[in-house]
Symmetry: C2
Subunit: 513 residues, 2 copies
């Protein structure tokens, strides 16, 4: 399985730049802006970044900026976090989160499709160094990426200097990628000619100026696995309602045997939905999504079910190289890995009529969703692609358990009168699903009428009377909101009491992302 570095670096000029990683990291100076490969733990520079942390620890007060595709693994991000002054556009690191909330790291999330374009537009300034994991360097210096694309192509196009991390332990991913850069002003864009999930419109490798490569390093570390979380009764119930909603839409909107391409998030609810689809009447499933994940593997094996997938990353629960190589052999041609400006492209999401399914932290009775900030103030991970998909999908489905048990043992409602951070508005979500049922948003109905339906179908029965009380107390208007502070305080007091009085439920209230 493992290749030699000579087999993977076919460009003589670049092979001569091969250095130990401890030497390569010396190219980074305090103040530098780094754009690195990596998306949902897949394809990140697993040798360079930890070595960089050790290097920076030896410099006085070193601080850098780090941009990635989406999340890096905690194994890679935690050691580096103390040296990161600015981080974007997405992270899922407990270490970074602590620093962000302590005001020691500036963090700005963004729609992933916007971020990739913004890099090319110059919105994020100059990039000093791109650090990109590749599975092969071609004779002309162009590179074949690995398990993710993210912003690797933009980073290679824009950075002043480049470090290539050649991973000889992973399979050669040649043929998995479709690489094209977003057009930037003053160049006017062009219609992106993708009309199917398996379409390819770019190159299977990244063309860039190899004279900017300052170092090549070798890595033998496979991707860190992404935990596969099986669902429980709650997830299965949610999945059942999602399938019922899709069945209703099939009948109501005349799909016949057509099934829209699916986007699904990562986590136990998403896994339960995928698992439910595999047993459903829906045949020939297409996925236009961000992450090709463990839960899709059973489907790929079933040629009657699986008709192709597009993603920006392949994040698996078991990244053992021979297993990954077998998957690549089986899926090449049916699975395309794309830059995130393409995987999350509004133009394509709308055109293909994607069904988007994601799990916000909480929703409100009028159909707004909070995907990022617990209690309004504290970011969990970031917006990611949820907005790209929810806003532009044919059908956008927000699924969440109706309740959540906090670390202190209290049980809270995931359906609230209002959310303290709005990431998705009432206009961007067509269906809200919990384990109790689903509420749709088709046609003309008043926000009041929609609120009644969300409360009665989606909220946990324990909290329904209180939520109805809120609407009544809020008074008139088309979308009544209670602004009188004294009465609002009273409502939240009653709510806290209801949380404390929540009766135990068998199976508890897991929360999936």
């Amino acid at each position: 399985m493992t290749s030699s570095i000579g087999e993977r670096v076919q460009c003589e000029a670049l092979l001569r730049k091969l250095v130990p990683v401890e030497e390569a990291v010396r190219h980074v100076r305090s103040g530098d802006v780094l754009a690195v490969s990596g998306f949902t733990k897949a394809g990140e520079p697993k040798a360079f970044l930890p070595a960089l942390a050790r290097h920076l620890a030896g410099l006085p007060d070193a601080r850098i900026s780090v941009y990635s595709g989406a999340s890096l693994s905690e194994e890679v991000e935690a050691p580096l976090a103390p040296f990161i002054a600015r981080r974007g556009p997405y992270m899922a690191s407990a270490a970074s989160r602590r620093l962000i909330h302590a005001g020691k790291m500036d963090y700005a999330d963004a729609h992933l499709s916007h971020f990739a374009r913004g890099l090319m537009y110059g919105f994020y300034g100059d990039i000093d160094l791109a650090v990109v994991e590749v599975s092969r360097i071609r004779p002309d210096g162009s590179v074949v990426l690995s398990a993710s694309v993210g912003v690797s192509a933009e980073a290679l196009a824009r950075a002043r200097a480049v470090v290539l991390e050649v991973n000889t332990a992973i399979p050669d991913f040649t043929g998995m990628h479709d690489i094209v850069l977003p057009p930037a002003p003053p160049t006017i864009g062009w219609p992106v000619p993708v009309t199917g999930v398996r379409d390819r419109i770019g190159l299977p490798y990244v063309l860039f100026d190899p004279s900017r490569v300052v170092a090549v390093v070798e890595s033998r570390q496979p991707d860190f696995p992404v935990a596969f979380r099986a669902g429980g009764a709650t997830c299965d119930a949610i999945a059942g309602h999602v399938l019922a909603f899709l069945g209703e839409c099939r009948d109501r909107f005349g799909w016949h045997h057509w099934v829209p391409p699916l986007q699904s998030g990562v986590g136990n609810i998403a896994n339960a939905v995928i698992s439910g689809l595999a047993r459903s009447p829906f045949q020939r499933l297409h996925f236009w999504t961000e992450v090709f994940q463990e839960g899709l593997l059973d489907l790929v094996a079933d040629r009657d079910r699986f008709a192709g997938a597009s993603a920006s990353a392949m994040s698996l629960a078991d990244t053992e190289p021979t297993r990954v190589e077998a998957l690549i052999r089986a899926a090449r041609g049916d699975l395309v890995l794309r830059p995130m400006w393409m995987s999350n492209n509004p133009e394509i999401i709308t055109r293909l009529h994607v069904v988007a399914m994601n799990t916000p932290l909480e929703v409100d009775i009028y159909g707004h969703a909070n995907s990022t900030h617990v209690g309004g103030s504290r970011v969990v991970n970031g917006l990611g692609g949820s907005g790209d998909f929810f806003r532009n999908a044919y059908l956008s489905v927000a699924h969440t358990p109706s309740i959540r048990t906090l670390r202190d043992g209290r049980t809270v409602s995931c359906v609230l009168p209002y959310v303290n951070h709005v990431d998705h508005t009432e206009h961007d979500i067509k269906c809200i699903v919990t384990e109790h049922g689903y509420a749709t948003n088709f046609g003309i109905r008043s926000p009041r009428a929609r609120a009644r339906e969300i409360i009665d179908r989606c909220a946990h029965p324990h909290f329904r009377p209180l939520l109805h009380d809120y609407v009544t107390m809020a008074g008139d208007g088309d979308e009544p909101r209670l602004l009188a502070m004294d009465r609002l305080e009273g409502w939240w007091r009653d709510y806290d009491a209801a949380c404390a009085a929540f009766p135990g439920e068998p199976g508890g209230a897991p929360h999936g992302h």
Copy 2:
């Protein structure tokens, strides 16, 4: 100027369906769903709708649903409002607003691009009757629309029955429109081949099945004019800052002589911006916008300045037919009127790198904007196309006066700690502008840092200390929000006191939309 009905109805079969409007309205029964032409007062059925109101007044408890493109004139909507059970996706009618807030009319706004697609997708159910103003019926029964497109083509495609209102008082608009329908599932979409504001990809008329026409009526009523509101010192200051921002972007992002296509809202701030552009160093201005409005007329006359415009409606302050005809003669070829799924199409807005400029009701310190609901509960007009443009623009600019004077004489801040209805999130707005300055959102900065900038540059100086206090009181987290009800109540009490103590300003605080 005025044509005879025989000149305008070139299809014999349809000319035979010409009836007095009082007869045509009898096709409407209680419970019917009507989709009508009209967008920002332009091209609405000005004979049919008032006659329909009189007809419905004679029926017991008659209630109908009315869909339009965007707003209808109050002249047309007010008489009909008492009979409307469901209304969407946009209105600007005081009569409807009263009924909506009284719970007597169900209203749901939507992104305009979503609404047009939703009509075709079946999300809004069956349409019983399309009522569309046209300037000409062609020999084969296809129709040339008038001063707006909106959802007229979708209405004609989907409705069970059709009434055509031929307006013989207005000019023949032949050659102004570019008509194409959005693809609907299970048909997969195609790349929309528009790469310039003047591109045409469809037909200059609407093809549909003329056997569904149940009546043709004649109208001689020109469009009701849209008030042209000149700015004052506040608007001029805002326009100055918008131009400074554009100048900064030109230098920073390497535009050279290129100027991005512009979208601008309707109202006094927009007019001041357009007027400022006309005197600016920016040459060859393109507009990719919703409404071609009065403020653009001076530009059209200046061939060095004006390079073309695309809109869904032409809404003028003076609709005298010979004047409109002269404009059409001058602008045909440079001005294209499109269906609103095209004028507001995310794919095209992104591709052309549009600069979007709109006025929300209020913004918050973290960069979220409320475009729809005063005090959270009461809708003003609706979302319209603000989300289509803000989310997908190259640069999105939210401009608003820093303060507003209410009817009761109190002066409030348009920059608040949080808004009670979020229509646009912090991720969708690149620049906030008031008469005091502008704050941008480029690169990675913490929400705290952005808040400081928005407060110091955009908020009225009278309110700045209070807004900084809020951030301090809100404590930790990356985007601090004060949730403790007692302290929040204290903050709002201090704010109310500050509003009451606001010193008078020369020129007052106008608020434009």
